[in-house]
Symmetry: C2
C-alpha cells in the first residue's frame, strides 16, 4: 500500500519521523485528526529537516483559503525562502491519453535511482473539492507513490488559475526547502495552464503521441513553441515506426522557428513510459539543457524574469478582481456588453463608463 | 504626385470635395491651416458622404491626445457606429524585408480594379511623433497612394500598444462609415502588435520569405498559429524553387495543428508582389475564407468576441495604468522588485504590499 506520508488524508497526523514527538493517533485511520497545532518555527524546522508529514501539512496550509491558515503559511514561506531554489523544475504537459502518469512514474523512478529526491505537483484549475483532480492521482503513479523520496500532491483548488498558480509556486518553495532537488509540475492543458506552468519551471517538457495516420495528435497552438523538449511516448512494438515519423515531422516543424532566447534548440525524442525505453535519453537531454543554460546565464535570468512576472501577474489579478467582483460593476458590465454586441456603443466608450462608475464608488 | 487627401499634412485643409464650402487655403502649402472648426454633424455628414478630407481630419481627431479633440472624436464615432461594420478587415504582418509595402500596393490595386474601396491603417507602437512610422509610408506604396479610392494612414502614436490599438479600431469605424469596404491593418511585429491586429481583423495574413538555405526566415513563435493564410513573397525568377519548398514546409507544419475554431484550414500560397504574380489567387483565398466563415456563423461570432475583448482589454489597461503610473507606487515597486530578485521576498508578498499601499492611498 502507498506510503502514508504521501497521502494528504494523513496530513493532519503526526507520524514519528525523526523529531521527538509521540505519535498521538493511529496513522492508518482514514479521517485526519489534528494533533496539537505547530508553531511557525516547528513547521520550518520540520520542513528543513525533511519531515514529510510536516511538509505535507504546510502545503495544506498554503492551499487553504482560511485567513488564519494563510497568515501562517506566509510566515512559513518567508522563513523557507532563503533555503529554496536548489532544484531543477520541470513542467510536464500532454493531452489526455498521452500517458502522462505512467511517464511521470517512469521518469520519477529513474531520478530516484540516480540519487535524487522528487516532488510532483500539479496545476489543474478545473479541479474542485468535490471532484478532486485527475492529476497527481497517485493510484496512477504506482511505483512512485510507494517511494519515500517522492512527494506527490494533487492540484490545489483555488477558484482561478492565478490562485492555483500562486499556491503551486509557494509549495515549490517549501518542497525545495525540504530538500527535494527535482520538481515536476504537471498539467493537462486546460485553458492557460500550460502558460502558467511554463512561467514557473526551468524546463518545459511536452509529451506527445504519434497519431493514427501520419498526423500528430492534438498539439495545442502555442504549446509546441513553449517546449524545451518534446518526447513522443509509446514508441514500442508496432508503434515504433509511427513514433519515428512523428519525431521527424516535429523536428521539421521546430526547425522553422528561430533559436529561442535560451540558445537551446528544442529536441524531439521517442520513448516508452510503460516499457521503460529511452528514459535515460530523456533525462540526459534535460541535464544537458540545464548545464547549457547555467553556463550561458539564461537559467538565472529566466528565474529572475519569472519572479518578476509573478509579482506583476499577482498585482494585475488583484486589480482585476477588485473591479470585476464588485456586484454593481458586474451588473453594469452585463448591460454594457449587450450594447457593445449590438453596435450601440463602442467597446471603449463602454469601458470608460464602467471605469467611471467604479472610481466614483471608490470615493 | 500623391493625392493631397492622402497626405496627413493636409488634413487640416478644406479641399472642395462635394460640400459647399469655399477653399480657404492653398492646398499645396505644407503647413496645415485649420479653417473654421467643423461641428460633429458636419464631420459625420462629410464622412458618410465619403469626403476624404473630412475623414482624414476626423481620424486626426481620433489620434489626438487633447481632451477637447477626444470628446469630439467620441461624439463622431458614436454617430458613425451604426454605419460601420460593412467591410472585410485584413491584418497583414511580416518581417522587415518581406516586401510588405510592395505587396500591399499590389494587393490594393487588385482590389481597386475589382471595384472595391480600400483603407490602409497601421499599428506600430514604436512610432513616435518625431520619427514617424515606417509603416503606412506612402512613398513605398507608389501606385496605391495615387488612387482616389485608397485611403492610407500611418500608425498613430499613443504611448502604448493599447492606445494605438484603440485609435486604430476607432479609425476603422470611421473608414467603414465612409464607405471603404476593404480595410488593411498592417504591422511589423513589434512586441504584441500582431496579437492586437489579430484581435481586430477578420482575416490574418502572414507574409513570409523563403530563406537562404532550406529554412524559412524568422517566423516569430506564436504568429504562424494566428494566420488564416500564409503567403510567400518573391516567388519569381531564380527564387521560385525556394519559395515552393518553403510552401511545402509550412504546409507540413500547419498540418500538425488541429483545425482552428473557424473551421478553416489555413492555406499557404506563393506570389510575387513586385512582379504581380499570384495576386488573384491570394484574394481568391481571402474571399473563399469570408464566404466560408459567414456561412458557418464564425464571422459574426468572431466580431462579437473581438468587441467584448476590446472592452475588457480597455478596462484592464486603465486599471493597470491607475496603479502603475502612481509615482509612489512606482517607487515602491522598484524597491520590491529588488527584494524579489534577491529572494528576500516572495513575488506574492511583494505584490500584496504594493496593493495594500495602493488601496490605503485610495481611501
Amino acid at each position: 500500500m502507498e506510503h502514508p506520508e504521501n497521502d494528504p488524508k494523513y496530513s493532519g497526523l503526526m507520524v514519528n519521523k525523526g523529531i521527538s514527538r509521540p505519535p498521538s493517533v493511529n496513522p492508518y485511520m482514514k479521517k485526519p485528526l489534528r494533533s496539537s497545532t505547530l508553531s511557525v518555527t516547528e513547521y520550518v524546522d520540520g520542513i528543513l529537516s525533511g519531515d514529510r508529514v510536516i511538509l505535507s501539512r504546510a502545503v495544506t496550509l498554503v492551499e487553504s483559503s482560511r485567513p488564519e491558515h494563510q497568515d501562517m503559511a506566509q510566515a512559513i514561506i518567508e522563513k523557507c525562502l532563503p533555503y529554496a531554489g536548489n532544484s531543477i523544475r520541470v513542467g510536464i504537459t500532454g493531452v489526455p491519453g498521452a500517458g502522462k502518469s505512467t511517464s511521470i512514474d517512469a521518469f520519477g523512478i529513474h531520478l530516484l535511482k540516480n540519487g535524487h529526491k522528487l516532488a510532483v505537483l500539479a496545476i489543474d484549475p478545473s479541479s474542485e473539492r468535490s471532484k478532486g483532480s485527475i492529476l497527481g492521482d497517485k493510484t496512477r503513479m504506482e511505483k512512485l507513490s510507494r517511494e519515500h523520496d517522492a512527494f506527490i500532491r494533487p492540484s490545489p483548488s483555488a477558484g482561478s488559475l492565478g490562485g492555483v498558480a500562486r499556491k503551486t509556486r509557494e509549495s515549490i518553495i517549501l518542497c525545495e526547502a525540504a530538500g527535494f532537488d527535482y520538481l515536476f509540475v504537471e498539467t493537462v492543458g486546460v485553458g492557460q495552464s500550460e502558460t502558467a506552468v511554463h512561467s514557473m519551471v526551468d524546463f518545459f517538457l511536452l509529451i506527445q503521441l504519434a497519431g493514427t495516420g501520419d498526423e500528430l495528435q492534438g498539439i495545442k497552438r502555442g504549446i509546441m513553441e513553449m517546449a524545451d523538449g518534446i518526447v513522443i511516448n509509446k514508441a514500442d512494438g508496432d508503434n515504433i515506426d509511427k513514433a519515428k515519423m512523428a519525431q521527424r515531422q516535429l523536428k521539421n516543424a521546430l526547425h522553422l522557428y528561430p533559436v529561442p532566447e535560451s540558445g537551446w534548440i528544442p529536441e524531439v525524442l521517442t520513448y516508452s513510459g510503460f516499457y521503460d525505453i529511452g528514459i535515460d535519453e530523456v533525462w540526459d537531454m534535460v541535464h544537458r539543457y540545464v548545464d547549457f543554460v547555467k553556463l550561458n546565464g539564461y537559467f538565472d535570468r529566466k528565474r529572475k524574469e519569472q519572479a518578476k512576472f509573478w509579482m506583476f501577474e499577482s498585482i494585475n489579478e488583484q486589480l482585476r478582481n477588485g473591479f470585476y467582483r464588485d456586484p454593481e460593476i458586474a451588473k453594469l458590465l452585463s448591460d454594457l456588453e449587450k450594447e457593445v454586441l449590438c453596435d450601440r456603443k463602442s467597446s471603449f466608450v463602454a469601458a470608460k463608463e464602467a471605469l467611471d462608475r467604479y472610481y466614483q464608488r471608490k470615493k
